[in-house]
């Protein structure tokens, strides 16, 4: 039954992709969705490109293992990335009218070298992410269907490649939004159902306060036998991890590129705020679900399979299929975004194809080539979902964050500083992360690749800019970012946008109340 459910889900996604492909009339539709996407589609694509197996398998597995509090702290820090990113970076990015993020950097700093570096680093990071997506889909499908892992990932890669090459950015926005709706419903219904199976939400949280199978599973310090031995180290890790991921939500190519497709700046800001609330809600519910699964079935060998196990064994078949289809949707939607961006970046920024018809055909061929490479790498590389995903976040934060923020907000940053910052941040974080993960080394928290990489990147930005002068062209390009387009001055739209931004203040209060009622108070009651 689960096999049939997954096949039907995959076929439906392909059909949707083909239907949307009919609406793709021009290269602009294919690459930037005609720059006319409304708030709903931008929100859907932002969240769907971010949420994937890293959450439904990685974070749920970490919570199952007793790392709930550090993960939720990180989620609290990172969710705000959409709000800050859309307001302080995204809308300026949209004003640049670039087709890709590397093109934005190239124009802003009048530097082809920086554009190439941004393309190479961005492509590397997105291929790393695609690997984690495909591996996650493979593990999920293997567990659910019983088919061989290699067959599963071949089917998955074929499906998301077909969706991407048939419908382009416009199709990716629409399929992402449908998938966002599906996995949001799956997360909400699934979490409450798992809670009721465990014995009810509040009584289970109280019971877990004295849970012996995993000590401190819901405590504020986390399980001290799991990762770092003290609560302080776990919290420092959580804040560092949160900032790294916040950087992803603010500037990562698969996130900020969504703003290039937005109808206007108001759409950028509003979608950022809705995405922020959605990510926090889904993460909170899913991490709690991971804890509840431990009560139903403690001692699972592979913690990242917690949600999949619960969907197959403690839910009615129909609900289980909906939840698993939601997890599959989250992974496929991320993969379609990565593939669409990697192929357009290579076509436009590396090959520099000018003819618009050729751009679309070349982009499709590159998408197929990249998919084959990702497939071969996944067959060769064993599944390691959580840490591969973390590798990408660290590299994005270290290589792209300082340059992206400085590109808008610094008058003194130069192309040399920007290039040095991006290159050094990328190299230091990538090398350190790969060496530590490959050799299973746990560095003291203060020497985590993220902290070292971001420090080196900021220093390189400052030193590189101090010894060079800002050119007239760079000044001119920065000034253009601060010219508000006339079309943005509609008073009704401004009023609406201000209401959205203001709503983030009560949102913070609601988040505190929800966490107190659904976690802290029943947990403390259980302790006493």
């Amino acid at each position: 039954m689960f096999l049939a459910g997954m096949i039907i889900t995959l076929v439906l996604y392909v059909i949707i992709g083909f239907l949307v492909s009919r609406k793709v009339k021009s290269a602009d539709d294919y690459f930037v969705a005609g720059r006319n996407a409304p708030t709903m589609l931008i929100t859907g694509s932002l969240v769907a490109s971010f949420i994937g197996v890293g959450l439904f398998m990685g974070d749920v597995g970490e919570s199952y293992s007793g790392f709930f509090a550090p993960i939720i702290v990180a989620v609290g820090v990172l969710s705000v990335g959409y709000i800050v990113g859309s307001i302080f970076f995204g809308r300026y990015l949209r004003r640049s009218e670039a087709n890709t993020i590397p093109e934005f950097f190239g124009k802003r700093f009048d530097s082809r070298a920086l554009k190439m570096l941004a393309t190479i680093t961005g492509t590397f990071i997105m291929i790393v992410y695609s690997l984690s997506c495909v591996q996650g889909i493979g593990s999920l499908m293997e567990m659910v269907t019983g088919l061989d892992y290699r067959i599963c990932i071949t089917i998955a890669v074929t499906v998301f490649t077909v969706i991407t090459i048939s419908s382009g950015a416009k199709g990716v926005l629409i399929t992402d939004t449908i998938m966002y709706a599906l996995f949001s419903i799956a997360a909400i219904v699934g979490a409450f159902f798992i809670a009721s199976e465990a014995g009810g939400w509040f009584s289970t949280v109280s019971d877990m306060a004295n849970y012996e199978a995993v000590e401190g599973i819901l405590s504020g310090s986390g399980n001290l036998n799991y990762f770092y031995p003290t609560g302080t180290e776990n919290m420092i890790w959580a804040v560092g991890y949160g900032i790294a991921w916040m950087a992803v939500l603010m500037v990562a190519p698969w996130q900020s590129s969504r703003y290039l497709m937005a109808k206007n700046e108001h759409t950028v800001i509003r979608s950022g705020i809705i995405a922020s609330a959605s990510v926090f809600l889904i993460e909170f519910l899913m991490c709690m679900a991971g804890v509840f699964v431990n009560k139903i079935n403690p001692g699972m060998e592979t913690a990242s399979n917690a949600l999949v196990w619960a969907s197959m064994n403690s839910m009615p078949a129909f609900l289980g299929i909906v939840v698993l289809s939601g997890v599959l949707a989250s992974a496929i939607s991320s993969a379609t975004t990565f593939l669409s961006l990697v192929s357009s970046n290579i076509t436009k920024d590396i090959m520099q194809v000018k003819d618009t018809k050729k751009q679309v055909s070349y982009s499709r061929i590159i998408a197929i080539v990249v998919s084959v490479i990702v497939l071969l790498l996944c067959i060769w590389n064993p599944p390691q979902i959580f840490w591969i995903t973390y590798l990408g976040a660290t590299i994005v934060a270290c290589s792209w964050l300082p340059v992206s923020i400085a590109s808008v907000w610094s008058k003194r940053v130069t192309k040399v500083g920007a290039f040095a910052s991006m290159l050094s941040g990328f190299l230091v974080s990538a090398v350190m992360k790969i060496v530590t993960v490959a050799n299973n080394i746990v560095l003291p928290i203060y020497f985590d690749p993220f902290f070292i990489g971001i420090t080196v990147s900021i220093l390189a930005l400052i030193i590189g800019s101090a010894f060079t002068k800002v050119t007239d062209k760079e000044k001119e390009e920065r000034a253009k970012l601060f010219k508000k387009p006339e079309g943005e001055n509609d008073p009704t739209e401004i009023k609406k946008t201000k209401i959205f931004v203001f709503a983030t203040i009560p949102l913070g209060i609601v988040i505190t109340v929800v966490m107190l009622v659904m976690w802290v108070i029943p947990y403390l009651n259980g302790l006493s």
Binding site: G76, I83, G220, N489, T504, G508, L516, V520
Partner: protein
């Protein structure tokens, strides 16, 4: 107690970012709002 700090801290983080963002966005669109008020 750590749990209370986490719940309050995350909410405060949203509130602070929300206030800064609201001030910034209001400032960005200030000229337009002023013109509208003048018209009225």
């Amino acid at each position: 107690m750590h749990e209370i700090l986490i719940a309050v801290g995350i909410g405060l983080w949203f509130v602070v970012c929300g206030i800064i963002s609201y001030i910034f966005v209001s400032k960005t669109y200030k000229n337009v709002s002023d013109k509208e008020e003048e018209k009225e």
